[in-house]
Symmetry: C2
Subunit: 349 residues, 2 copies
């Protein structure tokens, strides 16, 4: 490639330098983040050393939540904003990685590619991935090999091999049984409160703690509270109450967390097994990037530690990584490393 081959306003690309810019987008259900990197940057020494030119934030870009046209509008808006903040424009874009929640099928991917190609210069390169890929890349410096486990409001395990094979497990939302997710943990806790109240289950401190947190006076009122707003994130926000109840010794809360740890570990094990990420003998090291509110924090009840312990019983080579940068930077590093390989090939030929 090399130089400007599109003829549009080269002056505006100043901040990206001669090499133009790279965009990385992490499109989630809560919000969408876009970062802009210089395409010609040298390989950064550490994740925190990545020279981010700008960072823009917008709302939800999951088409399953807001519909396709609203999602595309949000994506265009956040990319335009990041370019403006970096004192450049669309003509400077060399590569874009869109890592978008809800992109689960090749047909979703193709539709996004068709759309984005019309926004940027003809020679730019585009990569459309599930948002899990950005999270993986944020822990591996853009290197696509290993498995990522995301457990926030939802949960997913997603793995990629060096030769481009991918596999996922879970990530299908609460109706389809993501019981290890923040939503899953909290919904099980709410169910336990209802069952204790109506006589189907054992008494639990979750009753007192959840009612206090929600400022309700009786478990009867939980039904109205639950269905007043179907947002998954609102339910998932109860996870800290479950963790603190478990830490104080509540057996019901402890069982919920142990079951969820097993669900999360099962999803990683399924992905690692399908991709043979641990080698033929099952003993090779492989990176496991851990992301999301359920896996963060250094609490007494260490959910991510328990998940890794469960996985290591099956695959002792699991190498846990907690990313130091956000997934949008992972997406940008991914686009940047593809772009760099392409440049090397061109320069070499």
């Amino acid at each position: 490639m090399g130089g400007y081959d599109n003829g549009e306003s080269p002056a505006a690309t100043a901040s990206g330098g001669e090499g133009g810019v790279i965009l990385g987008v992490d499109g989630g259900t809560t919000n969408t983040v876009c970062v802009c990197l210089p395409a010609a940057m040298p390989p950064p020494e550490s994740p925190r050393a990545v020279p981010v030119l700008s960072r823009a934030v917008a709302g939800c870009s999951n088409r399953n939540s807001v519909g396709e046209s609203a999602a595309l509008e949000t994506l265009e808006q956040v990319m335009t904003q990041a370019l403006t903040m970096a004192n450049t424009d669309r003509s400077a874009v060399r590569a874009v990685c869109l890592a978008i929640s809800g992109v689960n099928h090749p047909s979703d991917q193709q539709r996004m590619l068709d759309w984005i190609q019309d926004l940027f210069p003809v020679h730019a390169k585009f990569y459309v991935e599930n948002d899990a890929v950005a999270a993986l890349a944020s822990g591996t410096m853009g290197n696509l090999h290993g498995c990522v486990l995301i457990a926030g409001t939802g949960s997913i395990a997603y793995g990629v091999t060096e030769d481009g094979k991918v596999a996922r497990a879970a990530g299908a939302g609460p109706v389809l049984g993501d019981w290890g997710s923040g939503y899953g943990i909290a919904a099980q806790a709410l169910t336990a409160v209802v069952k204790a109240y109506d006589g189907r289950g054992p008494q639990t401190n979750l009753t007192r703690e959840i009612l206090r947190k929600l400022e309700l006076s009786s478990p009867d009122e939980l039904i109205g509270w639950t269905y007043a707003d179907p947002s998954w994130a609102r339910i998932a926000a109860l996870v800290p109450v479950v963790v603190s109840s478990a830490e104080e010794g509540d057996e019901v809360a402890n069982k919920i967390l142990h079951d969820s740890v097993q669900e999360l570990a099962d999803s990683v094990v399924a992905v690692v097994r399908r991709l043979t990420l641990c080698g033929e003998d099952g003993k090779d090291q492989f990176p496991l990037v851990l992301v999301g509110g359920v896996l963060e924090g250094n609490k007494k009840w260490n959910i991510s530690g328990e998940v890794v312990r469960c996985i290591s019983k099956v695959f002792p080579g699991v190498h846990p990584i907690r990313p130091e940068v956000e997934p949008a930077i992972g997406a940008a590093l991914l686009a940047w490393s593809h772009h760099r390989k392409g440049q090397k090939l061109e320069n070499g030929s």
Copy 2:
């Protein structure tokens, strides 16, 4: 009471006769049914002998689904229509029983009572109940004693004692763990298909059967299908596929049905225990009215039969009843029997 004490258009009450009319309303999440009975009818010999003057049908009246004002509008509309069809009007109304899905709390009940009192003559009597009460009354000829188990899209166990104590279990919707419901059974089956596909669970014929039913080509597409429309009834419509797969010997489908049977039985046992419906020694007979799509039909895999068998291990006095009339008639019989007792008291004094 006796005679017309409201002074409004007595001529219009012709079809109800001199005694006026009774309205029974069964307000569900799918639709709302109102029936009109003559207030002065003698006790019917059988449920099918109830002399129904008219029957009107409208849409959803669950305030949790459509909001309070839409729910009240639907209720007013369906009652007006039933009165018109019976060639009478509001002035002839002697008693109304509203049995409405989503009425779970005394404050819900009071708001409905405040509202309905303004629609009808001052001396009329009003009863606001959960829709489960209408289903119970439809199996007991308006006699409020026993337990009803409803398992359609949702599930609930609801019991009433002769001295007016009530208890319920489940009926809290899918987020709060109604796993015995039609929605619960189908969501577990969808989860099993996803788990088989991503390597977390055993293979199952549910995959082939559910994909065929939904005309999808891969389990990947289930995520889009599931969240394209959040209606619980749409998910619950997959129950027959689960039952037929279980009948053909699929182990995963059989486990889902056995677990759901246990959930449904647990909910009845919890209610019966709290109300001591089976007497102090746990051996008294008590009526268990069985209602809803999951409990109907005479399939090889007999869900309601299995539920009764589970309950009878704990409470051998369980006496299953399958109502011959719809819940709206149960609601009307309930209002009629209250009205009749009131009349007897007045005539006796």
